[in-house]
Symmetry: C2
């Protein structure tokens, strides 16, 4: 239970000057000149731009080396090179998923992210060790960071005997979502892999978030098999397809029926907006009514040196990838790391309205587009009604 | 003439700890435990990573609204929409190229850029006004920032009568390089446009830097015409092709002979590494010996809300665009905004060696790759032997 708080004189993206009254971690009221009791703590916004807390739709907190010694990447170029390198590294390095995930989760909060979906490796070498570490972080930050964990078979679901059993344990042990990975190109058997995935998910009544890197025609093939199962099992609104590079490589004639089916079945797409591979078409997704939201993927790990806990930077990269230049288009890029991501992941009570969880960010920016392009220091971050960062620095005790 | 300076205990990218002795704006010596006279000013590097001053290979200082009110972009999607919108905006807004370019040039210095090539609009509406403004900035920062100006016909060379005369005046009046723009798709007459360009350049004995956005086959067609003229007129080593999207769209069979000819004629390529269009192939350029370097293009102007005077961020975007993940690959990304850019633009006396101009940056990073991924605050920036920024803040008087 947090103390009441009044934020005075903040500015909505449409220019309206408002106050925000926060009670019990919720927005109690938002509007001009709110009257509250005199003893309520006040923060003056000085007309700064008010944004909802940001949403990270796809990261891997357990893999990161954020805040640690620099990892010298000498890894080969194939997906399997990266998977095997990481397994080797972990076996040798004693990488601690609890400490790693906590450091990065705190950096996310500091930069204004208050909701986060993280995929956590489950494999037959590490068992549930990484999940246990990430769940410690979730518990440590429970009051401020709304975190979803995805039990993710990074080494494939079928390739290593015992993985399904581990995933089953993970879902019983606190994971919120079932992950999956390239049913054809990693597991080598798309039907069996998808059947195992949907069987597990329905048994546990958990949503699914699948990494689908499979390109063009093979990705489209797997995607159809997946959508058949969503339809047959009534999993509408419960499935996210991460990456979905295939949708960026197909001609509209093959692509558009898939998009229409995604919309119909309310299956959402996640993109990191990578600059070097095809990406799901943003404009066509909006036109067809497909939810497309954004995330980092791994941040500074054995896979990838890039990424940042600053979701405004991710919105900028989304803007660059889709050549969004107009202010109204950059508002869409921002939605990808806020409202649309909350919808895609199913985070409840999100937004800047009375009744929503009080997750707020204040920045010195004139407009949403300006915030995305300039990525200014976060003047104030409020998470679940509590001030967690000020002027880019975490509050004490977070 | 600057005072001598000794930087004590900096760290080269290969890990060697060195001192740097600076005399008369030049690196006098670089190596471990240098002995200099006692009264020489000292800066302690505390083992920070020592980098050469960064090089911005392609920007448009005259267009920027850096540090001004946010420009609300409501511009149409075509190249000509953007050109016409900008001309209209300038006619109405009283945009001041001197003030604009000075603000952004100082931000570049603050972030460690000590050499910079800027394209400056020359057109029949504005005449030489923008060039005059940018030359004021060049003069104001002459002691610290090594700036090349390109006389750039943003509205085409042939489309508006009088442009060639203006470019002629610009080259007589202080512009260092002749610019050009899409000879086929903007000027509508690739042969006449290129002939006019090469005629002007040879008459003034100036290098050429041409914006070539023309895609795929039409870009390749123009490129061949251009290379013919480089060869016929002996302009080897004096021509840069900016953007060159066409080279990212052609199959290797058509592309590779062009790359071989670019290498043979020592014609360099500039890329901003845009995420949304094809880019010249970095690996193939390196293999064929083609100089490919990096730049921002316009920064926060009526064209584009993005861009930053931080060349480490541009190196990061180059890394992302070309999927460079290994440390040795990120060193190449860094080269694109340092050594390779200096070579491409022809900046003299560049680098970390005795005799070079003393342009140095210190950052807290373990390796080059770390610096590119993390883009840390610049602890110290030395330009032409003078300290111009410290801890991310410009020194007084810069």
């Amino acid at each position: 239970m947090t103390e009441p708080l009044l934020i005075v004189d903040a500015r909505l993206p449409d220019g309206t000057r408002v106050d925000v009254s926060i009670v019990n971690g919720r927005i109690d009221a938002i509007g001009p000149d709110l009257q509250v009791e005199n003893d309520v703590a006040r923060e003056h916004g000085h007309g700064a731009l008010l944004l909802p807390g940001f949403v990270e739709g796809h990261t891997h907190l357990d893999k990161t080396m954020w805040g640690m010694r620099w990892y010298r990447n000498e890894v080969g170029p194939k997906l399997t090179d990266r998977i095997e390198n990481e397994r080797r590294f972990r076996a040798q390095s004693g990488h601690d998923a609890a400490a790693a995930s906590l450091a990065l989760a705190r950096a996310f909060l500091q930069a204004g992210t208050t909701r986060l979906r993280t995929h956590v490796d489950i494999d037959t070498d590490a068992g549930l060790k990484h999940l246990e570490g990430v769940l410690k972080t979730r518990d440590a930050l429970r009051d401020v960071l709304d975190m979803q964990t995805v039990a993710f078979p990074q080494s494939g679901m079928l390739k290593r005997q015992g993985t399904v059993t581990l995933l089953d344990k993970a879902l019983r042990g606190g994971a919120d979502v079932l992950g999956a990975l390239d049913p054809a190109l990693i597991d080598g058997d798309p039907v069996a892999s998808l059947n195992a995935t949907f069987d597990l998910a329905t048994r546990h009544q958990k949503p699914i978030d699948i990494h689908l890197h499979e390109p063009a025609e093979i990705g489209a093939f797997t995607l159809k098999l997946l959508l058949d199962r969503v339809e047959a099992l009534g999993m509408q609104g419960r499935v996210v397809i991460s990456h979905a590079f295939c949708l960026g490589a197909l001609a509209p004639r093959e692509r558009d029926p898939l998009l229409e089916r995604l919309a119909l079945l309310d299956v959402a797409l996640l993109t990191t907006a990578p600059a070097s591979v095809p990406v799901p078409p943003l404009a066509a997704c909006i036109e067809k009514g497909v939810t497309l939201f954004g995330g980092n993927d791994g941040i500074r790990d054995t896979w990838n040196p890039f990424g940042s806990p600053d979701m405004l930077e991710r919105a900028m990269l989304i803007g660059m990838r889709y050549d969004l230049r107009r202010d109204d288009a950059l508002a869409i890029a921002f939605d990808c790391v806020s409202h649309t991501a909350a919808r895609g992941c199913g985070f409840a009570d999100y937004g800047l309205h009375a009744g929503a969880r009080a997750d707020l960010v204040l920045v010195d920016a004139e407009t949403l587009a300006h915030a995305v392009a300039a990525r200014p220091v976060r003047k104030l971050v409020v998470a679940n009604g509590r001030i967690v960062a000020r002027d880019g620095v975490l509050a004490e005790g977070v």
